[in-house]
Amino acid sequence: MNILLALLFLLAAGAGTGVVLTRDPRRQIFAIAANGLVLTVLFFALQAPDVALSELAVGTAATPLLFLVTLAAVRRNRARQ
């Protein structure tokens, strides 16, 4: 198997595990974005640019943004208390 692909698969496994193990939600956002980026690269390498573009737009930008806004709302809640 192509070394590059193998490495990317392993990297994807690592990035996913990183998301799980990053217990602090604020830092987890970065892990999620990084995971999205790794997946994007992997999808490009798997000759799937359509999917990679979606993952880039959704996984690396939109989803982390929603997480960020959620945490901002949560923090506000706590601050008001």
Binding site: M1, A6, F9, L10, A12, A13, G16, T17, V19, V20, L21, T22, R23, D24, P25, Q28, A31, I32, N35, L39, L42, F43, L46, Q47, A48, P49, D50, V51, S54, E55, V58, G59, A62, T63, L66, F67, T70, L71, A73, V74, N77, R78, Q81
Partner: protein, 118 residues
């Protein structure tokens, strides 16, 4: 090593499950759920990959060039939409729970118990 992608997919699903079970913050749990989901992306795209195949877009290559499977890619596109929508819904619920109850620990969030008749 032709089984590596499948093992990575299984690993990610397992890791996500572990994260969900052990999570102490709902926002974190939602992140773990998306890890579970990424295992399905890997599985599907891995299944459709073909050694030496090109992108299934015949713009730079003439039609008939050996290309990877476009069907699984279309499936994964749908899957990504699923992921985004479910994440948004869950986050909205998490915001509401926190707003009303100041509690995001999944080990403490439970629907009201009504047991105990008789």
């Amino acid at each position: 090593m032709s089984v590596l992608p499948w093992l990575v997919a299984a690993w990610l699903f397992g890791a996500g499950i572990y994260g969900i079970v052990s999570s102490r913050n709902f926002v974190h749990l939602i992140g773990c759920l998306s890890v579970c989901q990424s295992s399905t992306y890997l599985l599907l795209l891995g299944i459709g990959y073909r050694w030496g195949g090109v992108v299934p877009v015949f713009y730079d290559h003439p039609p008939g060039t050996k290309a990877v499977d476009p069907v699984v890619q279309a499936l994964v596109l749908t899957d990504i939409v699923v992921g985004a929508t479910v994440t948004a819904l869950l986050l909205a619920m998490a915001v509401q729970v926190d707003r009303k109850y100041r509690e995001l620990d999944p080990q403490k969030l439970r629907p009201m118990r009504h047991e105990g008749h008789q």
